[in-house]
Amino acid sequence: MAAVSFEYGLALAAILFILGLVGLLTRRSLVFMLLCVEIMLNAAGFAFIVAGARWGGADGQVMFIFLLTMAAAEVAVGLALILVLSGRVPGAVPDEAAAGGEPAPVDMRSLLDTDYQKDAQAGRTRP
């Protein structure tokens, strides 16, 4: 294996990490948030691999595999939560469904956007 200086790998991991963090701070969609968290976790995993490469041990890779598994579990729970939430955001009016009527179509914007509800309540409209 050609010796790539570990500083480069570390810099890449840091960039990825900050990318995820910035994405989390700027995006409002639930799915994007989940994605950004994944990016951050993977950045950490990458850092582990870089570190493992430096010491020539398997520890870094082992940690990466742990991390991958756990991230998968986390995403699974996260997606499930998004699914359940999708039935409850404003737009799908529960009492209409109880009355036997067809549930109103889900407003996808409200599903993906955490702050949508607050804006809607405040009477603000966003493009």
Binding site: F6, L10, A13, F17, G20, L21, L24, L30, M33, L34, V37, E38, M40, L41, A43, A44, G45, A47, F48, V50, A51, G52, R54, W55, G57, D59, G60, V62, M63, F66, L67, M70, A71, A73, E74, V77, G78, L81, I82, V84, L85, R88, T114
Partner: protein, 487 residues
């Protein structure tokens, strides 16, 4: 590995095995809710009992991942005990609501296993595994009542924030590993205490974020009130106690003996975090009208108190952290048992207004809740007083005068809002009042037992702390000698 070595692993094995049994019970039994409860309870009790057998074999290391010493067993006993109490208060709480709630116990037990692993981990790998084992069930536990949208939103919030904090923690671990070449926590901690490079310092700082998030200390505390409020009361109780306790124990067992807490930059950082947490938590709680949020804010301050003892470090500091944790556990569990027991099908008993006139309707519950609140406020003859007392002692012993003064000031501030709740208990219920229930439902038996047991524990620990204190000091001495042996 000798037979006694495996015996030491027994508590963890029982926890994991019985979690699987609970799953089987859920799949096949007819009375799935009751079966899940019974199986899980049996598993927890068995695990607790197995601690006695495991105790004699300690201390030992199990591979590079786990160190099974007396301190680990003590914290396991705390986590398992807290989980048992939480299950007691959950039984009626969830039965009243839904038939399909048996999974709650499975998740709770997994989280408890996570706590146990966390408290006995000696490597970054097991640290991370334990943490995720604890966190992942919590996402579901927070949003367990699917009909409540706030709970679901909060669960998602916790998931994102926990993910971010895990990322911080892992990145920090990676940096430390990069520099030291070892996943061993003690090695890492020792690396930081010497003249550390930028990488190690940055790594430890990032880890501090992850740990601070789990402990909910300022400035990583912001999630606490929302999660406490939105989660079902038993889940909140678990988050408030077992989850934070396991992390605090981990902090103590590896960072305190390595001297990281006593000196160097991280002593200052943790001292600052402690001070800010005490003020933030208590000041936030001043105007709070919701009991669950109030307890959330107050828990921020309580973890700040614990960090004072942590910064004090040494034997006395470790013992003070452990003792305070015990006091904090029983007081909080009592408070949440009251909340869970008084919640009805329709409404969570969370508004303070709701508790007006409790002394008339439920004198025993009111007395127990009073004991719990006074203990949280740290009034004499309660466990909380003794807890604060040992922290004072540890802080004064380490000459942390600024922190000790801040602690005293904050104890005073906190009395204000605790007494606000206590006075509500004894005021007459408001006429056709907002949220005051009439007629108040009877307290479910199991929740009442949990509440009574915790209240008795508060008084007993407060009035005669001697033997418990001696025991904890003994165990704390154990970790110091372990750390010395590991050198």
């Amino acid at each position: 590995m000798s037979a006694s070595g495996y015996l030491g692993l027994l508590p963890l094995a029982i926890l994991a095995g019985s979690a699987i049994l609970v799953l089987f019970g859920l799949a096949f039994a007819r009375q799935r809710y009751e079966t899940a409860f019974a199986l899980s309870m049996a598993g927890l009790v068995a695990a607790l009992a197995s601690l006695f057998f495991a105790w004699t074999g300690a201390p030992q290391r199990f591979t590079a991942l786990l160190v099974l010493d007396h301190f680990a067993y003590l914290s396991m006993a705390l986590s398992i005990g807290a989980t048992i109490v939480v299950e007691f208060m959950s039984f009626a709480y969830f039965r009243a609501r839904r038939e399909e709630n048996g999974e709650f116990y499975f998740l709770l037990q997994l989280a408890c296993l996570g706590c146990a692993v966390l408290a006995s981990s000696s490597s970054f790998a097991s640290f991370f595994l334990g943490l995720e084992l604890l966190s992942t069930p919590l996402f579901t536990l927070i949003g367990y009542r699917r009909e409540r949208e706030a709970g679901l939103r909060s669960a998602f919030m916790y998931l994102i924030l926990a993910g971010v904090s895990s990322a911080f923690l892992l990145f920090g671990m990676a940096l430390v590993y990069l520099e030291t070449g070892s996943l061993d926590i003690t090695t890492a901690a020792r690396a930081a205490s010497g003249s550390a490079s930028f990488t190690v310092l940055a790594g430890l700082a990032l880890m501090t974020v992850g740990i601070g998030f789990k402990l909910a200390v300022a400035p990583f505390h912001v999630w606490t009130p929302d999660i406490y409020d939105a989660a079902p009361a038993p889940a909140t109780a678990f988050i408030a106690t077992a989850s934070k306790g396991a992390m605090a124990i981990l902090l103590v067992r590896f960072f305190a003996p390595a001297g990281i807490a006593g000196a160097g930059p991280f002593a200052w950082i943790f001292a600052a975090i402690a001070g800010i947490s005490m003020f933030t938590g208590n000041i936030l709680a001043l105007r709070e009208g919701n009991l669950k949020r109030l307890l959330a804010y107050s828990s921020i301050a309580h973890l700040g108190y614990i960090l004072v003892a942590f910064v004090a470090s040494g034997n006395q500091g470790s013992a003070a952290v452990s003792f305070y944790l015990v006091a904090y556990f029983v007081s909080n569990l009592a408070a949440f048992a009251a909340v869970a027991g008084l919640s009805t099908n329709e409404a969570e008993a969370d508004s303070i207004e709701h508790y007006r006139g409790l002394a008339k309707g439920h004198p025993w519950a009111a007395a127990a809740l009073t004991a719990s609140l006074l203990s949280l406020a740290g009034l004499p003859l309660t466990a909380g007083f003794m807890g604060k007392f040992v922290i004072f002692e540890a802080g004064a012993g380490a000459f942390l005068w600024v922190l000790v003064v801040i602690l005293a000031v904050n104890s005073t501030i906190s009395i204000f809002y605790y007494l606000r709740v206590v006075s509500a208990l004894y005021r007459p219920a408001s006429e056709a009042g907002t949220g005051s229930m009439s007629p108040r439902p009877a307290m479910p038996a199991l929740a009442a037992i949990a509440l009574a047991a915790m209240a008795i524990a508060i008084i007993v620990i407060g009035a005669m702390p001697g033997s418990l204190m001696a025991f904890i000091r003994e165990v704390a001495r154990d970790i110091a000698s372990n750390a010395a042996a590991a050198l």
